[in-house]
């Protein structure tokens, strides 16, 4: 039988979709990083801006070129590459040579993200893996020189260097005087505001917290990961501080280093964190535990990035054992 009418479009249900998209999600995360970005330019000057721009531009360009060369659909407009570049810049020192963030971004996007299948398929957080690559390849650039906030000029950084608050104690040979000055209200205030040496976007706990809470409120990230991560670091350091193992207070530890940026912006990366709610608790608590282990007994003063990278690799295992119980299932048959 001939169908003479004009045919209508048929698709499977549902016929309406929410307005939420990957692009919107990435954009909101980038917006949440704006306070920390402004802070970074305030503290570390034009150089912070330059490194951030180079990092973002090379991340986006790498993705674009790779996808063009491989004749894949170009997905740079989803914002995920830009976000990776931004986060990578935020976790490297403002004193690094300008080619370093570019190399890091290429590694993050090309090796960690695209070679595994692009957005959604990377098993490590690309920005953190990029940082780990730079740390392994150019440790001198990555850890030796930290800028004193509000001191930088484009050329004059070589002479003005400092240590990060977390590194100071180790460098001083665990001096009690140094520890008590680090624990002082004045020092904690600097940590909160970000007026300390450190990576470009990680120093201001307050500005990161503002962005992080914005992400929780907008439903972009699950509060379980930052809460369990920061919470477990805090609780463990209460124990370590009271028993005299740690000379630094728990408050110092949650404000210092990369914990805030790590807990709100790295550990919550949906691609590399557990998708189950129970799994997110486990992920956060274990990352906190690892961070404390590395900070307290490891070779590095800071352990956030490695703890998250290690936990990234446990995600499939965690998910396997935290599957939700389907509605109506009495006991697991598997």
């Amino acid at each position: 039988m001939a169908i003479e009418t004009k045919l209508l479009t048929i698709t499977p249900a549902p016929h309406i979709k929410s307005g939420f998209s990957t692009t919107r999600m990435m954009s909101i995360v980038i917006i949440a990083l704006i306070p920390a970005f402004i802070g970074s330019v305030y503290f570390f000057g034009f150089r912070a801006l330059l490194i951030t721009l180079i990092s973002v531009a090379s991340a986006v360009l790498t993705e674009f070129v790779y996808q063009k060369l491989c004749k894949k659909k170009v997905t740079v407009t989803d914002g995920s590459a830009a976000l990776t570049g931004l986060l990578l810049a935020f976790i490297i020192s403002p004193s690094v040579p300008l080619w370093l963030p570019a190399v890091g971004s290429v590694f993050s996007i090309l090796i960690v993200k695209q070679l595994f299948g692009g957005v959604g398929f990377n098993f490590l957080n690309p920005a953190l893996a990029g940082r780990a690559f730079l740390m392994a390849s150019w440790p001198a650039f990555m850890t030796a020189k930290w800028m004193i906030p509000r001191s930088g000029t484009l050329s004059g950084i070589e002479s003005i260097t400092t240590a990060t608050p977390l590194g100071t104690l180790k460098l001083s040979g665990y001096s009690t005087n140094v520890a008590s000055s680090l624990n002082s209200i004045e020092s904690l205030k600097h940590l909160l505001l970000g007026n300390v040496g450190g990576s470009i976007g990680e120093t201001s706990a307050l500005l990161l917290l503002i962005g992080g809470i914005f992400l929780v409120i907008t439903g972009i990230i699950d509060w379980r990961i930052p809460l369990s991560y920061i919470g477990s670091v805090f609780v463990l350091y209460i124990v370590l501080f009271l028993t005299g193992v740690s000379q630094l207070t728990p408050i110092f530890h949650i404000l210092a280093g990369g914990l805030m940026i790590g807990a709100f912006f790295m550990a919550t990366d949906p691609v590399t964190s557990p998708i189950t709610k129970k799994g997110r608790w486990i992920f956060g608590i274990c990352a906190g535990l690892l961070t404390v282990l590395i900070r307290q007994w490891g070779g590095y003063p800071e352990g956030v990035s490695y703890s998250i990278l290690i936990m990234n690799m446990f995600v499939p295992l965690i998910e396997k054992y935290t599957l939700p119980r389907p509605f109506g299932r009495v006991r697991r048959t598997a």
Partner: protein, 434 residues
Amino acid sequence: MPKFFTFKGGIHPGEFKFTEKDAIEDFVAPDVVYIPLSQHFGKPAKPVVKKGDKVYVGSLIGEPDGGFSASIHSSVSGTVKKVDKYHHFSGNMEQTVIIENDGQMEKDPAIKSAYSDSITPEKIIEIARNYGIVGLGGATFPASIKMSPPPGKTFDTLILNGAECEPYLTSDHRLMIESPEEIILGALLIKKAINANRLIIAIEENKMDAVSVYEKIKDKYKFDIAILKTKYPQGGEKQIIKAILDREVPEGGLPVDVHAYVQNVGTAYALWDAVYNGMPLVKRIVSITGSVKNRKNLKVAIGTPISALIEHCGGYMGEAGKLISGGPMMGIALYTDKIPVTKGTSGVLIQRKEEMSLDEPTNCIRCGRCISSCPMDLMPNLLGDFSEFYKFEESKDLGVLNCIECGSCSYVCPAKKHLVQLIKVTKAELKKKR
């Protein structure tokens, strides 16, 4: 402040209940009606008429083919033109009885009330079967089968489902407001048939005008009202039982396993009509909504082509892109407006070309929204992956067969993946193997 019942998961899309204030209008049956023999869950009915036969409103034209089927009746009086394949909502051409309407709307002489105060449960179930009563919420499950539980299983509560959680649709809402006593009388028949001791009418909080109608008669007929939170899929059978009775239908089980029986308000009305007036199910309320000039709630003879309804509503607004039978979440997109209204057509939603959501799926970013939205606590992301890689067996342990196909996962997905469709593929593949 009344307590609002709800369940875990689900979504809250825009409601768009444009026609909730529009009284139901009788739509005059067109010159020709196309009544498919397959309008219900189960085997198509067997035709009992042939070309040239004279039929009346309510005359049997298709009898149930075996136990799992339903009877079909003529919705007009006139002459059978032919029994042939015709456009069908399923997308296939299906056996259809095409009747030329003589416009007299003469009732079948055999039609008379079967009601008496001493009507037995068996008689009610028999009427439901003979008069073609099926679930009008959309699933079109034959009511007589539902009312006859397997031996040893019993019901204690009848939930009358007036949730109407699908956006846009207002047919149940209007029926609840305009025919409250009929609905309750029909429900009391079901209650009697299944020997339940409690009747609860469940209505979402966005229909408080309907709630107030039932408040007035609840003491007279002795039933309870449960106000549900406005959330999709609140009207899902398992969700509504969980929300109101806090009972969880076991995996692979039926509501009878937790002694609950859920039936749509429209079905109760149809049963009332069948028992009190002797009229088989030949008409239903259809919301014509979306991009149509005048949106309406119409009482339509089964077999009326949708094109006639749209013409009656002033035609399409703009260029029609999609014609959806049912609501936007679970409705079926139709390829032509020649397709007739059937027992399950709760609404017709028209989307203009520019309103259609045709986003290309991108990679899953594992945000977990599908999991939070799943009312059955499944992992739609994983089930979707398994389906894409043809690993159907692996989905079984994850409970894929529990999926109620509500589409919440597809709705929330930021990567616009066709999750529920992928899951449907897995379910179909697993069914094939059994």
